[in-house]
Amino acid sequence: MSTAIALPAPREAAVRPVRGAPGAVCSDTMEATLRALVDAVPTATLLFDAAQNVRYANPAARVLAQLCAPEKGDRPLDVVRDWHPDLLSSGALHLCSMHGSWSGEVILGFGRGQHKILLVHLSRVGPELFGMTVRDITQDSARESELHARNAELEVAYARLQGAQEQVMQSEKLASIGQLAAGVAHEINNPIGYVNSNLSTLQRYISQLFSAIQSYEAALAGGAGAATTESIRQKLDLDFLAGDVPQLLSESREGIDRVCKIVRDLKDFARKERSEDWIQADLHRGLDSTLNIIWNELKYKAQIVKTFGELPQVECLPSELNQVFMNVLMNAGQAIKDHGIITVTTSVAGDRVRIDVGDDGEGIPADVLPRVFDPFFTTKPVGSGTGLGLAISYGIVSKHHGTIEISSTPGQGTLLRIELPVAQPR
């Protein structure tokens, strides 16, 4: 039972409403129980009237009163406004009288930068009678702001990590393009080479044609006969030009088309998508454009056998999958020493699609096999592999909720199986 030493007379007030309850036989017992309950609550709880005279305060409230006005020592704090000028604002009290209750945070300063943050709840519990609970949330709020700060730090770190990961992926992509650069350069330089040379030839042909026209004009003006025109024709090799010009033009056009196609394939491959660009895509298209680029590299050593099944559209990040295909195909090509066969097979297995890439190259020794997906693991000479290709491929396939498995027999070849769900789980 509370003794409320410092606060005389609250008892009566506190129990008044309860006492007013009609016909409660056990009201006294109930009142005692409630009082015990309120006394036991660690939240400062008090009752006061319109004049802010305290009618009841539980022990936690008395602790609060002392905290608010330590200089008053054990002197009774009968009036709420004496506790601390900021604890109960007239505005809050007014709002409570109007609406029945009011809640808010109150910051109490104690000088020397000390302050407390309190969560105050006011309620009108009877005519001219208010209940008030006050909870000290200084620590909570410090913890909360600490938490906010830590969270912000984590978010920054996460963003940095994401940026770094994106960078690693992009640089791996560029590294694989770099490895292809020689092949691509060759493939572009060839058509550019003959188109360029053909243009020089065409320039020569055209000046030949113009001089033919001039000779004809002169012959016409001179009223020359068939023998003269024939000799002009032969001298300027017009029959040859008539045959070669269309051929030269169609070969040059073919060259330009080839360059356009290579550039388009490279753009398809290297396009950087925002990571949220999940779309329904035809995996065969990605495989084809990747094969087109890598073909420049592979055609000198491998034959590619494509066996494409009927695939549904797959929900995916196409350019990321292209990077997986590129890594896997490059590895297959590099496994082949002189000449070999690379197989690319697609099929449907239930609600998943399957892409198998096989080669009849060197194979992977059993002790190396478990490590091939480890980041930075590479058996290639320094400078020719980042050791990230399969690690990144693994990451990309996992992001697609798919699986990537590898099996290999040294001396016979390697099979890599990628399985991807047609639709991503929601």
């Binding site: 060759h186 330089n189 000198y300």
Partner: protein, 169 residues
């Protein structure tokens, strides 16, 4: 007549090279005609070389069955004196070094090439006093130098020192 052997796995390149070579004025070759034989397969080119001597070989570097250095090495076995050129878009440094060291390349021309560069290289290598003749003559020139019979020393277009003596030609 000068015979040139062209090898490239790309027929369009062969056609363009032919057209380019056709622009050479026979006057620049001291009135000698130019005959070009072109092959997309290095093996067939080698077969042909067993029965026909050439005055110049121009090969691609990157070809499916055999690379340019392998081809020119085989060509060297068949016709050691023929000047060898590579015309390639494959700009790998190691490949160029291998080509120079292993088959004593006379010229490396990158793709895309400028027609006038190709023409001047070809003329240089074919012309009397150019590549083939010069190679043969330089062996003699050393003797001439020691016997102080060299009467004229000049630098040619590509910076090589050309040794001429009045009675050598």
């Amino acid at each position: 007549m000068y015979r040139i052997l062209l090898v490239d796995d790309e027929p369009n390149i062969l056609n363009a090279l032919r057209r380019c070579l056709a622009s050479i004025d026979v006057g620049e070759l001291d009135g000698e005609a130019l005959k070009v034989e072109a092959f997309t397969s290095p093996e067939q080119a080698l077969e042909r070389s067993e029965e026909q001597d050439f005055d110049l070989v121009i090969s691609d570097y990157r070809m499916p069955s055999m690379d340019g250095v392998e081809f020119l090495a085989a060509m060297m076995e068949l016709q050691p004196a023929v000047p060898r050129m590579i015309c390639s878009g494959y700009a790998d440094r190691d490949a160029i070094i291998a080509a120079v060291n292993e088959v004593q390349l006379a010229r490396f021309i990158g793709k895309p090439w400028a027609d006038e560069d190709l023409v001047s290289a070809v003329v240089m290598l074919l012309r009397p006093g150019g590549g083939r003749a010069r190679a043969q003559r330089q062996a003699g020139a050393r003797t001439q130098a020691t016997s102080a019979r060299v009467t004229h020393v000049e630098q040619d277009d590509d910076g090589a020192i050309v040794l001429r003596s009045d009675d050598a030609a």
